[in-house]
């Protein structure tokens, strides 16, 4: 890791934390959503697999250090053994997969629309499919809820996350148009 990687990773971790502190934004339908999980998708999409996952690891380290960095002011060691810990650990894999797919899709010149669709797909696969797999497995086996029940309890949150995935893709396209940054 170069010094530039370190500062990008640290700042993106700080962005994920800061997005958790921003009060929930009401969508047009009136459903409030918090922006923290979008921060995880953005870390992968903007920084790439390794640095994106590293940014999430830094956030997890901050949680372990007893800082209230998760949305709603949660933090401390209880989070790691709580029922939703699978979603927290899943963030690492989510950022990695989203970043990896974004890197794969990067190859050729494309229209903004195609790029947005591809990045949305990357964010959905990483930030929803992979993330929910981790969260649901944790609920199913550590909380002993069983796979089917864990699935239905979790799946209620997917509509909000779909919106966030598409927003993350739109944001990534615009940010990368403004500043040159290599994915790694």
């Amino acid at each position: 890791m170069t010094t530039r990687d370190i500062s990008l990773v640290a700042l993106m971790a700080a962005v994920i934390v800061a997005l958790g502190l921003v009060p929930a934004i009401p969508l047009s339908a009136g459903v409030p959503i918090t922006l923290q999980s979008m921060g995880v998708m953005l870390a992968g999409l903007i920084l790439g697999p390794k640095r994106g996952a590293a940014a999430v690891l830094v956030v997890i380290a901050l949680v372990a250090l007893g800082l209230p960095v998760l949305s709603g002011g949660r933090g401390g060691l209880g989070v790691f053994v709580g029922p939703t810990a699978g979603f927290l650990f899943g963030w690492v894999l989510a950022a990695f997969v989203a970043g990896f797919l974004a890197q794969v899709f990067e190859a050729s010149e494309k229209s903004t629309l195609v790029r947005t669709v591809q990045l949305s797909g990357a964010a959905i696969l990483g930030g929803i499919v992979v993330l929910y797999a981790c969260g649901i497995l944790w609920l199913a086996f550590f909380v002993k809820m069983g796979l089917v029940k864990a699935f239905w309890v979790s799946v209620v949150f997917t509509p909000g996350d779909l919106v966030k995935a598409i927003a993350a893709a739109l944001i990534t396209v615009q940010v990368r148009r403004a500043v040159a940054i290599e994915r790694k």
């Binding site: 890791m1 700042l11 979008m38 250090l65 209880g78 053994v81 709580g82 940010v175 500043v179």
Partner: protein, 218 residues
């Protein structure tokens, strides 16, 4: 800096070394996952309550701190009760409740500085395996802590500017300028770190750690 969840105090848990508390918590959580007896788990909850209370926090304060986890637990308990049976629900709620209380007792009595020290020690074996560079990893974590308030401040400024232009509620209008500023700032930050000659070479950083143990000569 972000305000830590730790509270000052002089209780037994405050005085116990951080590494020992963390090891104890990990052990307790592991053991509790294998306990299925509701009476034993109720005992564990009692131990958790005593531990949390021994930090000097009143039960009202503990309740306030654990409101979020309690809500999640209540939902989980209800789901289990509804879909499986009352006994399973009770076991799950007692187990996770006990762990939450114990973890809270450790979190409240351990400062960020103590935990950072433990974390650096945990980084060392990974460094020997060539997985990461302990000093760089520690710097990254410290930088993130340092930059959260600045980013929150910038986010607030951007939102205020949007509100003035009637753009309230647009996630795109907040995140795009925020992230562009962040990436540009990362470049400046990297230059500043490089200019100060970080990281120090391995041999000298090792000596620095040793001298911290002894009083410095004038």
């Amino acid at each position: 800096m972000i305000a830590s969840l730790a509270r000052p105090g002089a209780s037994l848990l405050h005085r116990t070394p951080a590494a020992r508390k963390l090891a104890g918590l990990a052990l307790a959580a592991t053991v509790l996952f294998f306990v299925e007896d509701a009476r034993l788990l109720a005992g564990a909850v009692l131990v958790g309550l005593v531990a949390a209370r021994s930090t000097g926090a009143t039960f009202a304060a503990i309740g306030r701190d654990l409101k979020g986890p309690a809500l999640v637990l209540a939902v989980l308990g209800l789901v289990d009760w509804w879909l499986i049976d009352g006994t399973t629900a009770l076991v799950v709620v007692l187990r996770l409740g006990a762990i939450a209380l114990l973890a809270h007792a450790v979190t409240v009595t351990t400062t960020t500085a103590e935990l950072t020290e433990v974390m650096e020690r945990l980084f060392l074996p990974a460094e020997r395996l060539g997985l990461l560079d302990a000093s760089r990893a520690a710097l990254t974590v410290t930088l993130a802590i340092r930059f959260v308030p600045l980013i929150t401040q910038e986010a607030r400024e951007i939102r205020a500017a949007q509100a003035a232009r009637g753009l309230e509620g647009s996630i795109l209008a907040l995140a795009v300028p925020l992230l562009v500023r962040i990436v540009v700032r990362a470049e400046t930050l990297a230059d500043a770190i490089d200019a100060r000659g970080f990281p120090p070479d391995r041999s000298s950083s090792g000596r620095d750690q040793e001298t911290n143990e002894r009083p410095r000569s004038p």
